[in-house]
């Protein structure tokens, strides 16, 4: 039956010659596990596209709804947390895959004549992918999203002369708000996908015109060749499965929680960018004052231009790494700087005092139950009950607070405080908040 259908289609569409063109492309020097990164990147892009489409079923891009709809996906839709987890971890994985792909091409000198254009389009695809990362980060509209995008767009404002106009265009106004969210959404889900699909098509077209580069040793490349199908396809498929299992495991086991709802008034929040922007984030910290525009725009601009035009800059026709000391040293130095900055940044982040999310929830419960009617915190609230500004200095014991909130008179006889009907989780969160109310000298 299937064979009959194939023959019917083949007679009309000439599928056999098409599959020959697509699958029997000879790979100089034979197939290799080192050639899988491009396919892995393409697979991850498809995973992002698919999970993104499914997220769009429930996501609504407006400041009033974005956070609630993401919460809805995360907590109420069956497998919603998993689909969102796949999209989140897939975004990181695609950056890693691109990095490895670029590294392999660089190491093998595969960007050299006649493959210069292939490399240049690849660099454009990398930039588009970073655009996806930047625009996608805002969409959940939580504190991290809001403040990280605030910083990101402010950097655009530091461009000389046109910065002010640029940042307005980017935000859709003078502040980050509803118009920023809707345009980031449109760019993330409509404009960039259209652009990248076109870019990928050109990238693949160029690959087929110039052919895969093969090993750096010309003798090896000339000795033998092997068609793309079936062994390279098999290797690519195995790697795709491995990558999928890795991303799925991460999505399944590592929860990616939302921060609090975006609050433009809360200037105390310290945003952290995605890890693939961290090295740049750290770099900016070293460049302050008059050096800042240099760091934000001039150096990255020159770097991207250099990366784009690298096949024209590097004239050495030799592909063997041992004959390209300068190119390899430059690449190595770049990697060293990036990873050093990433390392320093991660180290700083892990030593940063962390705020426990239960503290924020406890604060909300405190507000919700009108505790402030009787208790004063930093000058706000009633005077009926004790001032709680530094309550944890006096009462650092968690169990005492839990008992006290359950039944005030059990630990504080004669207290006029009513007991509140709180469940176990609310009780714990409220206690975490109370224990966070301490003076600087008591903070470790």
């Amino acid at each position: 039956m299937a064979e009959k259908l194939y023959k019917w289609l083949d007679a009309r569409l000439k599928l056999t010659s098409l599959s020959h063109t697509l699958l029997d492309e000879p790979i100089p020097g034979g197939v290799s596990w080192i050639y899988v990164f491009g396919s892995a990147t393409l697979f991850l892009f498809c995973l992002q596209a698919t999970t993104g489409m499914f997220l769009a079923l429930y996501y609504v891009p407006s400041p009033d709804t974005a956070y609630d709809t993401v919460q809805f996906i995360q907590h109420e839709v069956l497998f919603g947390w998993f689909v969102r987890g796949l999209h989140h971890w897939g975004a990181s994985a695609v950056m890693v895959a691109i990095g490895l792909h670029l590294l392999q091409v660089y190491l093998f000198g595969a960007y050299k004549r006649p493959r210069e254009l292939l490399w240049m389009v690849g660099v454009c695809l990398l930039l588009i992918m970073m655009g996806f990362g930047f625009t996608g980060y805002l969409l959940p509209w939580d504190q991290n999203a809001y403040w990280a995008t605030q910083v990101g767009t402010n950097m655009v404002a530091s461009v000389p002369l046109v910065g002010d106009v640029l940042v307005r265009v980017l935000r859709g106004g003078d502040t980050l708000g509803a118009l920023t969210l809707s345009r980031f959404f449109a760019v993330h889900t409509l404009f960039l996908p259209a652009l990248i699909v076109f870019g990928i098509a050109v990238h693949l077209f160029l690959l087929r015109r110039v052919g895969p580069a093969g090993p750096w040793s010309l003798e090896q490349a000339r000795q033998r060749s092997e068609p793309f199908y079936p062994r390279q396809v098999y290797m690519d498929a195995m790697v795709m499965l491995g990558v999928f299992l890795l991303v799925a495991t991460l999505a399944w086991t590592v929860e990616f929680p939302l921060a609090d709802r975006a609050d433009p008034a809360d200037h105390t929040f310290t945003p952290v960018p995605e890890w693939y922007f961290l090295f740049f984030y750290q770099f900016l910290k070293y460049m302050s004052g008059p050096l800042e525009p240099l760091a934000t725009w001039v150096l990255p601009g020159l770097f991207i231009l250099g990366l784009l035009l690298w096949p024209l800059i590097d004239h050495n026709p030799e592909r063997r790494p041992s004959s390209r000391p300068i190119a390899l040293a430059a690449g190595g130095a770049f990697l060293l700087v990036v990873f050093a900055l990433l390392g320093v940044s991660l180290w700083n982040l892990y030593t940063l005092p962390k705020t426990d999310p239960s503290v924020a929830r406890g604060k909300a419960i405190f507000a919700q139950h009108q505790c402030v009617a009787c208790h004063r915190i930093h000058g706000d609230g009633g005077m009926v009950g004790p001032d709680l500004s530094y309550v944890a200095d006096r009462r650092p014991d968690r169990q005492w607070h839990i008992k006290h909130l359950r039944n005030p008179q059990s630990v504080s006889p004669g207290s006029i405080m009513p007991s509140f009907p709180l469940n176990e989780k609310d009780l714990n969160d409220l206690t975490s908040y109370l224990l966070n109310l301490k003076s600087e000298s008591h903070k470790s």
């Binding site: 000879p26 100089p28 034979g30 995973l47 698919t50 499914f54 079923l57 429930y58 609504v60 709804t65 609630d68 709809t69 919460q71 809805f72 109420e76 839709v77 069956l78 497998f79 919603g80 998993f82 689909v83 000339r222 000795q223 033998r224 060749s225 092997e226 068609p227 079936p230 062994r231 396809v233 098999y234 498929a237 195995m238 795709m240 499965l241 999928f244 299992l245 799925a248």
Partner: protein
């Protein structure tokens, strides 16, 4: 001239088979969660809640009274206040019956005609008596009765919707 590596037919089909297996596993790993993700909220039954619509001393025996129901319902990711008018009738026995405001024929809103002492639907002319029974017109069943209860003199109602056109009430 380069030597092209040739594989035996068995080896070729082995690699093809493994490739198919790997891609099927990925497909399956995605298809299952995606299906649940799309279907689950669509199949979820709308939950309704009890809401007080007024005190029962406002009701007079056998005189239908239109009351406002304002209950919270989940509409996807939103929690909205649903406002509906419902008809409450105190029976001669003292029990209170609450009718859904929607005609079971094709879903129009009906009115109480106090002169003719009948519920009348303006769309297709269905007429019901004060107990909800069909007395004229195309309606296939009596008016739909909503769950109600009396607590401390207050009438509580749970709003529901029913499929129209059937001869017995089926909740939506």
């Amino acid at each position: 001239m380069a030597i092209t590596t040739e594989l035996t037919e068995t080896r070729r089909s082995f690699f093809a088979w493994i490739t198919g297996l790997a891609t099927s596993l990925i497909g399956l790993g995605l298809a299952v969660p995606f299906t649940g993700y799309v279907i689950a909220p669509a199949l979820k039954r709308r939950e309704s809640s009890w809401a007080t619509v007024g005190t029962i001393d406002r009701l007079r025996t056998s005189e239908p009274t239109e009351l406002d129901y304002a209950g919270t319902v989940r509409d996807g990711w939103r929690t909205v206040t649903a406002k509906k008018a419902i008809w409450a009738v105190k029976q001669p026995t003292g029990a209170v019956v609450v009718f859904s405001p929607i005609c079971p024929h094709l879903g129009c809103g009906f009115r109480w005609d106090s002169v003719e002492r009948a519920f009348k639907c303006p769309c297709h002319g269905s007429v019901y008596d004060v107990t909800g029974k069909v007395v004229a017109g195309p309606a296939p069943r009596s008016l739909d009765i909503l769950p109600s209860k009396v607590e401390q003199g207050n009438l509580l109602v749970m709003y529901k919707e029913f499929k129209s056109g059937l001869d017995h009430p089926v909740e939506l």
